[in-house]
Point group: C2
Chain length 285, copies 2
């Protein structure tokens, strides 16, 4: 396994792989790798001849007052975990390498970024789309793999790839959870002991929504109201949003007819955690 | 020479060329080819193994009330001219192929698009950057060739390619002019006989600016004032802007110190014509 910090070197490596007929898979990450990332990496390993992961805490997707500075980082541990999975290359650029002087170009996916996290994190998905576009051009993957935990991110990237005709396949994999149901996230490390139990309210509220749905409830407001009451019974919780949306447009749904997703963001003490469930799919809880 | 209308087919063709080690050059055009385009195509032929031109009148770079509908088109004539130069592929997509339902992603190059044509054509460079990003992802060129007549477009594309780490080389070639100095443009076809003489005021004003510069004038306002008076002496002219800018940032310059460009846009009857001159370079007039 090698670590590449330079854009030019990464591009040259990827171009040589492509000319040699090798299939490149990419797992973009912000590091501080957990089981969720490992699952994506294992899938990348399976599907490609050359597995590249990027480790880059991208400043342009953090808003003012968000946790860019204190986002957890541990490159040595990440390196070890990546090696164990059989990663071929870690792309590990500096901010100066990614956003040099005079930088001024951004990719905007206009509609699917408006709702959900887009409402409380303006500019977040502009940063996500932009850095992914850059990573795709640098690593030149045939396949890019993302987690479904960041559902709106996945929809945004897929939309960008389709709209801008990027010749690569985007794959979304199911959320990996702790044994008690908490969705894996690097931000879980922020949780204090007393908050850990309250953090379970997210996945349990999803399970509650699934049960209502499975019992025939199709009214979005009723499902959301039940989830809200459920979460508010837990201390340290502050709901940012609970919404039910069409999985393609991410517009709010009143009656669950087409494919719908329930997504929520809840602040538990310091961290703002997200989770989601696509109705009709299994939920391992 | 073949004509490809489908994105998928173009990508497959280009991918096979790249894997075979062939160097692809792309000349993006809106068709109605003239000597300026032919010069770009000849250069593409010289520099690559496979020359692709795109012919696409891109709706997203036209504002409301602009000439998208009546922009001149003549595919049969273009096909003949392209064949004569030795073009390998004409990429000739429909609007539906380029902007299908649910389309919503745009590339914004933020600062260099603000001044000059960006002031009177809001959204124009967003459309230009977006369609070029799409064409680059579809045609996968090693080299893309543009004319310097659209100076701000060239700066914008170069900025986008650098910022988003596109692994291709952008080349700008000198403006090709009619024997009397008028910069070649598909929009010259709009000029009525009585306006044709007035259209020469653009290139002649540039020559006037060059002469002032060569004689030591470095004050931008004085050069601009002289050009303005010169152009206003011609009938049918309505100046949109005359500006002197830094060639990298495209911000207005007061004193000509670094590399500067004088750019102008003038409405001559119906058409709005543009031209420019980079101080210190030759001007074939």
């Amino acid at each position: 396994m090698k670590t590449i910090e330079s854009v030019k070197e990464m591009q040259a490596f990827s171009e040589s792989m492509r000319i040699a007929g090798k299939k490149i898979s990419l797992v973009p990450t912000m590091g501080y790798l957990h089981q969720g990332h490992l699952r994506l990496m294992e899938e990348g390993k399976k599907r490609g001849d050359c597995l590249v992961i990027s480790i880059y805490v991208n400043p342009t997707q953090f808003g003012p007052g968000e946790d860019f500075e204190k986002y957890p980082r541990d490159f040595e541990k990440d390196e070890k975990l990546a090696g164990d999975v059989g990663v071929d290359v870690i792309f590990y650029p500096s901010n100066k390498e990614m956003y040099p002087e005079h930088y001024q170009t951004y990719v905007n996916v206009e509609r699917v970024t408006q709702n959900l996290c887009g409402m409380s994190r303006p500019g977040h998905f502009r940063g996500v789309a932009t850095v992914c576009m850059k990573l795709f051009n640098i690593v030149k993957p045939h396949i890019a793999i993302f987690g479904k935990k960041d559902f709106q991110q996945l929809v945004t990237i897929k939309r960008m790839v389709t709209d801008l005709n990027l010749d690569l396949k985007v794959i979304g994999l199911s959320t990996v959870r702790e044994p008690d149901g908490l969705a894996m996230s690097s931000r879980n490390t922020y949780l204090k002991d007393a908050e850990r139990e309250s953090a379970l309210s997210l996945s349990r509220a999803l399970k509650f929504a699934k049960e209502l749905y499975d019992n025939g409830e199709r009214n979005a407001a009723k499902i959301i109201e039940g989830m809200q009451k459920f979460i508010e019974r837990h201390p340290h919780t502050k709901i940012d949003y609970i919404k039910i949306c069409d999985t393609t447009t991410l517009e709010d749904t009143e009656q669950l007819e087409g494919e719908s997703v329930v997504a929520l963001a809840v602040r538990i003490g310091l961290p703002r955690l997200i989770d989601n469930y696509v109705f009709g799919e299994p939920l391992d809880l």
